[in-house]
């Protein structure tokens, strides 16, 4: 059998075999763009063999939903499966789920990804570790790997945000990271200090509640209960927060840690209160640093790749190209490095599969068009059909619902009210780029949790926004909305 993707020259090289890498590869293949996929792992979805520590994802995949599995509209109800044109290849994660929970376990997720890779013919060279990167004089990128050199015009790094990261608190180096959390029974009878009050901190607190004598969570920022209430991560926070709120033993303290000290029996931390001033000193039998993760960008900084969040996340353009390094793209969780417009302070879903799978498809189209002049064939609309198409997308377009105020459906407007589908685009690109007359439709959500459609119209180069009313059943394809869209298209 021929070797999968031997070293050499390819139009595009994709690094990574998690959901981001698999999705980009699938979409590039559909566009006819030849590429190699490299992975240091030996099978797809390697992260899910060890993380999340307590074994279950946070995002839903509903086996039963208002739309049939396999329909495009069903994607919004299944946040973990990858996208495919063939209905048979859709919804592969819920197909693995036993329905004990609405969110998949790690093995269910891993099996769903493996099924996708196999059935959608995504070929990966496994056991091939990317190690170095350089740019040649002709502008091409050269990736040095454990299996030889790969040369390409564009490289997509789908590396995850999976490198354990610790803040620079003196003494924190002695504290095991979240990924080093032991079996829960190892904490039986012990007082456990958790540094960090975000998802992974509360995941530990939740997992250790039946075991540890006491769990104490410490970080400078108070838990933002109003934000969590609207997000799927709330399941992890609920039990420990209730315990803390009722005085059940769990503590969630707002304090900046000055230093961590090892003692004969455990740890002592010295901290200063943030929401309540004053010194805080805590002793514990065990400690864990739930301080987050970084994207393993290795030597990409030498190519000009810049980062935010203290080096953890690459800074990206609206099309997920590294700021300062043309031709270097990111897919997967790291696409949060292009935060979009953050309208009303609400962020995108790019750190989760249901957000970044759409980023991956838009990215594949952008690479195909920019580097290879390949543009997918898309629908055209007779006068009168444009509003109907946009209304359907507003009601059921999974891209718009998953990536609110981040991705938009764009239709180019032509003479006499006709239109041409211009695909899904990053909203920030649409509002800032010059171009011919067009409309972009998206779903947005404000800080209070209200969900409503917004239409952006570009005429004569100027873009205006049109916020439509929310509707409790989200029936944005109804007659009232249709009339409003028709009016907008006429004006």
């Amino acid at each position: 059998m021929a070797l999968t993707h031997p070293s050499g020259e390819y139009p595009v090289v994709v690094v990574g075999s998690g959901p981001g890498g698999l999705q980009v590869s699938y979409c590039l293949s559909r566009l006819g763009i030849e590429h190699a996929v490299l992975s240091a792992d030996d099978a797809p979805g390697g992260m899910f063999r060890s993380l999340p520590i307590f074994g279950r994802l946070l995002s839903w995949s509903k086996p039963d939903a208002p739309f049939e599995r396999g329909a495009r509209e069903y994607e919004w109800f299944d946040h973990n499966s990858l996208l495919a044109d063939d209905p048979e290849l859709r919804g592969l994660v819920p197909a693995e789920m036993n329905r004990d929970f609405a969110v998949p376990s790690r093995p269910e997720m891993e099996r769903g990804l493996a099924a996708f890779a196999e059935r959608a013919d995504v070929h990966v060279r496994y056991g091939c570790r990317w190690e170095t990167t350089r740019r040649d004089e002709d502008g091409s990128l050269v990736l040095g790997t454990s299996e030889g050199e790969y040369r390409c015009r564009a490289a997509v790094f789908a590396l995850g945000v999976t490198d354990p990261w610790k803040s620079d608190i003196p003494g924190v180096e002695d504290v095991p990271h979240y990924v080093e959390t032991l079996e829960p029974r190892a904490y039986e009878g012990r007082r456990v200090l958790v540094i960090g009050k975000r998802n992974s901190g509360f995941e530990i607190a939740d997992g250790l509640l039946p075991w540890a004598r006491q769990v104490v969570l410490v970080s400078p920022r108070p838990v933002q209960t109003s934000v969590i209430a609207l997000s799927s991560v709330r399941v992890r926070y609920m039990q420990p927060l209730e315990d803390a709120g009722l005085g059940g033993g769990t503590l969630a303290l707002d304090a900046a840690i000055e230093r961590v000290e090892r003692t004969a029996d455990g740890f002592r931390i010295h901290a200063h209160g943030t929401t309540r001033p004053g010194e805080v000193e805590l002793e514990a039998d065990a400690a864990l640093a739930a301080t987050g993760f970084a994207t393993p960008i290795r030597d990409l900084g030498n190519l000009g790749v810049q980062t935010v969040a203290q080096g953890r996340i690459p800074a990206l353009t609206p099309f997920w190209e590294a700021v300062g390094a043309p031709g270097v793209y990111f897919a997967g969780n790291a696409t949060q490095g292009a935060p979009g417009l953050r309208r009303h302070g609400v962020g995108a879903s790019s750190p989760a599969v249901h957000g970044f799978r759409y980023n991956a498809r838009v990215l594949a189209e952008a690479i195909a068009e920019r580097h290879f002049g390949v543009v997918p064939e898309r629908a055209t609309f007779a006068p009168g059909e444009v509003a109907r198409f946009l209304a359907h997308e507003l009601a059921h377009g999974p891209e718009l619902w998953a990536q609110k105020a981040y991705l938009a459906r764009v239709v180019a407007l032509e003479e006499g009210g006709a239109g041409r589908d211009a695909g899904v685009q990053p909203l920030s690109h649409f509002v800032d780029a010059a171009g011919p007359d067009a409309v972009a439709a998206t779903i947005e959500m404000n800080a209070a949790g209200s969900i409503y459609p917004v239409v952006y119209a570009r005429r004569g180069g100027a873009v205006t926004e049109h916020v439509l009313e929310p509707e409790p059943q989200h029936a944005y394809h109804g007659p009232g909305y249709l009339a409003e869209l028709e009016g907008l298209l006429r004006s």
Binding site: V161, R198, N199, S219, P220, R221, P222, D254, A255, A256, A271, H272, G273, T274, T275, P277, G292, F293, Q306, V308, A309, Q310, R312, I313, A315, T317, V323, G324, Q336, P339, L341, R342, R343, H344, G345, V346, G347, P351, A405, V431, D432, E444, N446, A447, A448, T464, E465, V467
Partner: protein
């Protein structure tokens, strides 16, 4: 995951000069950092739902109806008027170099200023200074 900024960088800004280190650390952990390439619009004239931005590094131009009015640099902020009043910005703000900002979401600004009155006073003084400069032009 929160993409917090660096405590040292924030601590050096005039806006946060009156805060204790733990307070600055809380801010660094609460709000996200964002980087804009040169030429990118950060604030958009006439678009609702914008946020407050504090410049950590780099420079930006304030542009009204296509005409540049002034430049902003490290430690300066923009978007406060539209955020506090809940209106659309009356200017574009465009990165003139690579620009690093701390982003305070509109929905959190009032709570933020009430939690740190010293920051509110600093912001008020700067707003008054800008108003005085504008009045001189009239």
């Amino acid at each position: 995951m929160g993409n917090g900024a660096d405590t040292e960088t924030l601590g050096r800004l005039a806006l946060f000069a009156d805060l204790s280190r733990p307070q600055v650390e809380a801010i660094a952990h609460t709000f996200e950092e964002e980087m804009f390439p040169e030429g990118q619009r950060v604030l958009r004239q006439g678009f609702s739902g914008s946020n407050l931005y504090v410049i950590l590094d780099g420079e930006a131009a304030v542009v009204i109806d296509g005409k540049e009015r002034t430049r902003l640099g490290r430690g300066e902020f923009f978007g406060e008027a539209s955020t506090l009043l809940g209106t659309a910005p009356t200017a574009d703000v465009v990165a003139t170099t690579a620009l690093r900002c701390l982003v305070v979401p509109a929905s959190e600004l009032e709570g933020f200023l009430m939690a740190y009155p010293a920051v509110a006073i600093r912001m008020l003084k700067e707003a008054v200074r800008r108003l005085a400069t504008t009045l001189q032009w009239l």
